[in-house]
Amino acid sequence: MSDCEQSYAVASDNLRTSQDISDDIRMARVRDTVTGLYEQLHQPVYRYLLWMRVRPQEAEEILQEAFLRLFSHLYADRPNVNMKAWVYRVAHNLACARGRKQKFILETSPERWHEICLSAIDSSAGPEEALLYKERWERLHSRVMKLSQLQQNCVRLRLEGLRYQEIAETLNTSVSSVAGSLRHAINKLCENL
């Protein structure tokens, strides 16, 4: 079990044993748990939201909203959950809800993508090498964009280090569906790369 997972387990135990204690102490424990999780997870969840192409300011708001909801959830004595997957799921759902309104999502224009490719190229690379590098990035980007939404989300969460079970909980799907989506996504991506 990783350090992170251990700390979730300890946090869950703390909350589990807090049924009979006073409300103030319970609230303090929930608060500690949530702030501890926030410290551990704010960067990965934020990066995940940015990769979902949510604007940075919106991503920060969504991130905080997800943890505030976790606080309410835990304080209301709701069933204990895998908190990491829970936070990802709430953040993901909030981002999707905003995305449906088509107001908060960044679109990467071809010109902008061209700029990103150029900025990623090592300055010491020669012109030919830089061109190859740029073409490879553009190819990968266009392939990622062609993946289904589920496949893109599975890949993003996999790269954030989530287990299949956690990805399944986040995306409200089954573990086998996650495994299948990942396999199809990788096969599509590595064609001619």
């Binding site: 410290e39 934020y46 940015l50 708001e61 943890f67 606080f71 902008r112 396999r183 590595c190």
Partner: protein, 595 residues
Amino acid sequence: MAEVNSNSVRLVDGHIPESWIFRTVDKEIAADDCEVVEEHLRSCVACRSVADRYKETLDQLSEYKRVIVDPDFALSPSHQLVFEDKLDRLAGVLKRPGRFRLPNAADLWRSLRDALAPQARILACAALAIIVAFFVIFRSNVPTVSAKESLIRSVGFEQNSLQGISDPIVVQKIRINAGSHQSERTLYRDPQHNRQVHEIDDSNNQDERFVDSMVQRASLNADELLLPGLFLDMSSRNKASTISMRQNGADAVVAIHLPGNDIVDAELTLRDGDFHTIGALLHLRDQSTIQITELSYHVVGLRTLRAGLFDFPTQERSSELALSSPLKPIADPVSEEIAALSILHKIHAELGGEISVDDSNPKVVKIEGVVDDAARKQEIESALRDLSLVQPYVVTLAEKRKSLRAHVYENRGAVSATSAKPLLDKQLEERFPSLEERQEYVRGVLSYAQSASSYAWVLDELSRRFTSARYSTLHSKTRRELNHLLADEAKSLSEDIAGLERQIDTILGPRTSMSAPNSVEQHEGVRREENLANWQDQVHVIHSDLDKMNDDLNALIVGAGRHNDSSDQLRSETYQLLSSLTTDIQKFQGRLEKL
């Protein structure tokens, strides 16, 4: 090929299925199965190449993610504080005594089912339905407060929301629709000090200009668009105005008719329950409309926001960034440098060489410096954290000592004490008979002189970094920020010169006894004035004059340097330098205003 011996893993045509290989790489199968697959991979080239291809693709995707996400956008430095602030407020709401907490619906149903007989259950449900129906009908038909009272309550909402927070700042995000143009902006309002600014979230230039022109046409302040008090005032001032209210779903809409005003009709949407104004629809005299919608409303402490938020009337930074790039804001090194210098100025870290800007790499703003302790280092680093191109390399004195060899410091020794008497020793003794008083006075004068020197040094550094050619190429906003910084430094310098003048007047004697500048000196002054083609030259003159004056003062009251000159000569020169410094600084400030 190794024989596969596992309950779960099955070979297909002598190979492990792809899904099992992927799961093995991701450590998503049982340890026993994992060992079996790995053993097979060691011996089977085809399966190993599948695993390698999977790993390689994941590596490329990681790199792709890094390029597209990191480190383009960082969380705001105060995100943790803002989050904890929100958390505390939520905790306060959840913990409020007497707050009715809804029980879990399933538990409630189970309790009812256990407690009541089937017939009683039906009766209870019917009674509940009747009560709810009555409540809904009664609530929708009977207005509880008048339209004006609703507006007054809306004004009171903000007052209530400020309570319990030190230095509260209202952070309100709004969207403005004017015709087919749309602009989103974040308003920061400091009700206690009556100041406000806004940041534009996302809008192209054309939209922004159009929306601003519409707001001006409505004679409104762009930072006060959703203030109910504003409309209450308009209504009070216009005797022909009428005000009415209607329900729109759960929310109330207050309609104000303002005949003869630029805004003919205003419809404010007040949130159900707390009367907070969440939207406005304004009809202008020329039949155009402006719709304002609140996207979010928070009250946070001033400390949670970035420093210097209210220093400029309106923040256009976000807008410019959004224009230059929708995904990754491309910061301009020059504007970042000026922003960094402004921040350093605000925390008094730009003086005396504590911090200097290294321009060896034009793509980044490298700021190096040595500070007293770790707290100061942290203060500087966190102040600069918002600036993406700025790389602070700040070390503490202790760290610096560690990195250098001990003998460097040993050989330095203390500043050598002078054995020579100050030229105004006699006057000093007469004016300050006690040694302590004399020392206190000298320290005071030197402190003003050093402080003035520091500001002049900073101005001189800025003039060297932003030469007239480079200055002329600066973007107007960047130039404005630089001018603001220069004006601030000049003001501090001018205050120090005034303080210094007051101090040395007591010991140098009246100015009338000094010889007036002769014609040669006057001519020199005129000639020098003619040569000062730009503010940079003027700054160089101020800096060099201040250095000369410090030398004179050292000789006069400390006893260091220039012992060959007579005290009268030096006194006269000091006064002349003081006078020309005051004039030059005033001229510099005047020139800055015209830039």
